[in-house]
């Protein structure tokens, strides 16, 4: 079985994330890394590989030069090979265009199961799995909190707001998984050494046969009108509880704000 895991290189959430003058996310001036939420998809892909025995896991990313770091991390965790789609024309692409690039790249890779995390830690839209499934014309099962492959069938459980749903689909298909699927492994020393020898291909838009006019900031289907940093919250009054004094002060605060 061939599994393709789509991953994203994102600005570190613990750092200072910001926008550039053209309202695109600053992806160069800040430290980047593999989106943590994609680690869960890699982990599930590796577990499926371990269970079925004969799967090959390819990691695919679309992003600037540094994005290859995200691929490398996935290879260190245990994925077999990587594909990095990189092209200056792609910068500033909206989700719709990105899904086009991903879908065209996936078509060039042998694939039965295409996996995603639940959303990126920066854009956080969580729509690419559905868009790619739509473009590939294969079923999609998103936001799985558990996933299982059984022969040519994939089963997921989805914990929704109002119900828990179980669903089943036949390969080939696209699935996305949440952080509820379980902790992702850390790369082992052996994994880190082995990753150095794993192949990573770099593809441009012309390798994919995608017209550069269909992607990038100018072709984006959504336009950011403005971005504004929220004023940081300032710390208010902090009291230390001594024999119930804290509780009393808290109740007084609630009353002063008319919550009681």
């Amino acid at each position: 079985m061939n599994i393709v895991v789509c991953v994203k290189y994102v600005p570190d959430a613990t750092g200072d994330r910001r926008f550039e003058a053209d309202n695109t996310v600053d992806r160069v001036g800040v430290d980047g890394l593999l989106s943590e939420l994609d680690e869960y998809a890699i982990e599930q892909a590796l577990q499926i590989k371990e269970k079925t025995g004969d799967a090959e896991v390819t990691v695919l990313t679309v992003g600037p030069e540094g994005a290859v770091d995200a691929v490398r991390k996935a290879l260190q965790m245990g994925a077999d090979k990587g594909v990095h789609v990189s092209d200056e024309a792609i910068a500033g692409s909206c989700a719709l265009s990105t899904s086009l690039v991903l879908a065209e790249a996936i078509k060039k890779i042998d694939h039965d199961l295409v996996m995603f995390g639940m959303g990126s830690t920066d854009g956080a839209m969580g729509v690419l799995p559905a868009m790619v499934s739509e473009r590939l014309g294969v079923p999609g099962m998103t936001f799985g909190s558990a996933i299982e492959v059984d022969g040519d069938k994939v089963k997921i459980r989805r914990d929704g707001d109002t119900a828990t749903v179980t669903a089943e689909g036949k390969l080939p298909l696209v699935a996305s998984v949440t952080d509820q699927t379980g902790e992702a492994r850390y790369p082992s020393f052996k994994g880190i050494m082995a990753a150095k020898k794993k192949p990573v291909e770099t593809w441009s838009l012309s390798d994919l046969g995608v017209d550069a006019g269909l992607v990038g900031l100018d072709a984006a289907s959504t336009t950011v009108e403005n971005t504004e940093a929220r004023p940081p919250r300032t710390a208010g009054e902090i009291v230390t509880d001594e024999d119930g004094s804290g509780a009393k002060a808290l109740v007084d605060f609630l009353a002063s704000k008319k919550f009681i």
């Binding site: 999609g140 009108e225 919250r233 009291v239």
Partner: protein, 318 residues
Amino acid sequence: MSEVLVLVDHVGGSVRKTTNEMLTIARRLGEPSAVFIGQLSDDATAALKQYGAEKIYVIDPNAVGPYLVTPKAEVLAQLVEQASPAAVLMSSSAEGKEVGARLAVKTDSGMITDAVDVESDGGTPVATQSVFAGSYTVKSKVSKGTPIIAVKPNSATPEAVDGAGTVEQVSITISDAAKGAQMTGVEPKKASGRPELTEAAIVVAGGRGTGGNFEPVEQLADSLGAAVGASRAAVDSGWYPHTFQIGQTGKVVSPQLYVATGISGAIQHRAGMQTSKTIIAVNKDEEAPIFELVDFGVVGDLHSVLPTVTEEVTKRKG
């Protein structure tokens, strides 16, 4: 005036508050048309009319079958073709986003998710989003195709305006491609009896500091008429169900008052509560990062502070 399609969010036929909010937003942009997939009851019709639905498109639930969300996107694509709406709104839930994403590809349109407000700029929707763990506010427009906007709960105050509510049955043929993923089981969640987490005016949340005992948290919540939330650490420990998790991979809430107890305030947790109007924390570690964003904080043990607060609140509310 153009129609604005609103995919009705309902549970077993009863319309959710998010739908009223979306109908209110739709009226700012054009003429609200509700799209109801399911068995439309008189109550539901009345509810949709009350918040301004001029038209109600009804799609028989048997037409979409036991298949996952794809058929719903096909329904909307057909209606977009038929009505050329000014925008399509759906709720920004897992399912809503997936329906919207598929519709975006089918109609080659731009999509905006997680809108916390939508205004009209001469009929063009301008959506507000809160990004990077609530540290930035972003306004955007759709510049291609039919604007598709997934709207978060609490994004508008529902305004009652009488709509005509003309019911129109829509027949639909679902493609074979949409039948590839099928639901095999649905287990409805039990209601907690407390306000809906994303809609509540007050949320009291507990973290690892509860040590697994949520009773003080629940009791304080009940004294304030609040919803209960939890940090991922509490959820991962199996102390509270995942539906109540607040943060990046849980719910994003923006209540009038958020009370964080035994929660350190990690960035991923802040992503889910940072835009709350007033924030209170109870934590025994005065260095806990949560104290950087509170309006009021108590350094102390939640197991002694909360019960006293609950008692006093109950007394004062008398």
